[in-house]
Symmetry: C2
Subunit: 340 residues, 2 copies
């Protein structure tokens, strides 16, 4: 009987048909997938853990592209993709415990995320995307430090010394405002930490006192946040010549704010992003492009690749500086006040 369903080649077609017909007539709904999973120790699904509300994943263009890549890899392997409900608000970890999956992909969560801890307790393979970095675990992501350094040197080359930084949340607790150097260094989001560290290093080398550079943090990742962060930066120091944003979304918000204020980009103000989403390209944002879809696909492949040629494995993705039209040499103070 089991054979009739699972190994059509092990018995004659006619017998198979007879068995199946009889089964259906008796109201047998087919093998129970859960019981089968228990027996075979395979769920045929991959779990995805995000640090945000599930619905957020469908609002952030970078997250969507990541999902697409991951879905592609799962589909190739005939696996399902289980989105695990793990809002940052509720500490409830049960959803991780309940997930019937063969492994987890963890996408960009903070070091101290309780859901991550729950995932790590499960006896299944785990692949981390972006953050955090954990020993002995497969990892996929871009070289954030290197990419940011290239961007920073581009801006330094243009002549920028007085800058402001707009960044995404640095820890699980909400803090919409200035992030002290201490908070920057202790950020529990590894990616944000490296980007800020790389910026600090590059600009320090160029003679900038990093402690004087305003870094403004926003909890929600949205263009509104980007706009208000830009506004705050311009208030703190109206003399800054560039706003460096750690994501394109924040940068797009900054562009909006600049337009609103009549500040010309890049003439009066340089604005840069990070990620390389479609909208960024459309408006010609100067940014760093990372292959987000590839990231998702690589994560899926890594997890589902059964031939294990020595774990842990790292996949470092190529990034590319996109010199758009939102970065230019700063104008001198006189130029800014009295025109060119």
């Amino acid at each position: 009987m089991s054979n009739a369903y699972n190994r059509p080649d092990q018995l004659s077609p006619e017998l198979r048909k007879r068995v199946l017909d009889t089964a259906r007539r008796l109201g047998y709904p087919g093998p129970d997938p859960v019981a089968r999973s228990l027996r075979t120790r395979k769920a045929g699904a991959v779990g995805l853990l995000l640090t945000e509300n599930l619905s957020y994943a469908f609002r952030d263009p970078a997250a969507i592209q990541f999902l697409e890549g991951l879905a592609l890899a799962c589909e190739d392997a005939g696996h399902g993709l289980l989105l695990i409900p793990a809002s940052p608000e509720r500490e409830d970890v049960a959803s991780v415990h309940r997930a019937g999956v063969d492994g987890f992909v963890v996408y960009s969560v903070p070091d101290d995320d309780p859901h991550l801890a729950a995932v790590l307790e499960r006896p299944v393979p785990v692949v981390i995307c972006d953050q955090p970095r954990i020993d002995q675990l497969d990892w996929v992501g871009p070289d954030d430090e290197g990419a940011v350094r290239v961007l920073a040197e581009h801006l330094i080359g243009l002549g920028h010394r007085r800058i402001g930084v707009s960044c995404m949340r640095l820890a699980r607790g909400r803090n919409d405002g200035v992030a002290s150097v201490h908070r920057q260094a202790n950020a529990s989001f590894h990616v944000q930490r490296s980007r800020l560290t790389a910026l600090a290093a590059a600009f320090s080398e160029a003679g900038v006192d990093w402690a004087q550079v305003p870094v403004v943090e926003r909890f929600d990742h949205s263009t509104e946040s980007g706009a208000s962060a830009a506004a705050q930066l311009l208030e703190i120091d109206p003399e800054i010549t560039a706003i460096i944003c750690t994501s394109d979304i924040l940068a797009l918000g900054a562009l909006e704010e600049a337009r609103r204020r009549g500040v010309r980009v890049p003439d009066d103000l340089t604005i840069t992003g990070f990620d390389g989403i479609d909208d960024a390209e459309r408006v010609g944002l100067t940014t760093v492009r990372q292959p987000v879809l590839e990231k998702g696909r690589a994560a899926g492949r890594l997890l589902l690749d059964t031939s294990e040629p020595g774990r842990p494995r790292d996949v470092l993705l190529e990034t590319q500086l996109m010199t758009g039209t939102t970065a230019a040499p700063p104008r001198s103070a006189e130029e800014r006040w009295f025109g060119p």
Copy 2:
């Protein structure tokens, strides 16, 4: 022991802690979710069946919004969302059989989809979104016929009589070209069928011979398809004054094609869409808006709503005619050839 994990209130905290500590020390990874599912007959997850490749779901704005709504509902109920790999190419239904879920949401699949048949065999609740309509099954969707009729009457009111139609795939088999009246009536995608039927009815009442109206079908749902469909329509009958598209994506493609040809919209040609995605609103497309996010949320709620006040239930969503800037009265032939 089971109690320690599942019913913290049934035993003293200290005992609970001791049990859990000992368990961890012995290397016990926590209760196996699959075995638990087998026993409790609950998977804590909802399956989603689409008719497209999984990755497609992350490219179509309407699908993304639907997913967001569905994810929202799942999250509220603490359920996971399992995306089931069911490409239209492979007839392989095993992924449906393997899915450990408490129910399925079926999103816009054709009447004769084999994966749908597999879903219906599973002894779990099913909610259908958009299509097909199946007796005794919960359903969520807009009033396609009504909405299209309002749109058609709008165009008829403007004076359009010589029109062309650009529509999405009508059956599982690829057919990029003209769709005969017969093919229209036999479309296995219920939604496309109703929209075409409603158009035919409205325009027939206005004195148009529907058999003479060119209806062009495209298998792939993309702006490129929309553009080529528009091109084909204009080739078949250069005198048409309006192109009605059964989706915004197709309409956006048609707009591109018009721009490429120097055909002015709406002066020389009226173009309409369906769905009301963000991009459509941005460019001012005349279209029908349906609450896509709400559709996803309603589907999830319907499936997860345990209090069953009499199934099957239908949720009919409100639609709204968006009179944008891409529809206007047709110009007479002379005007079109010799200018206003």
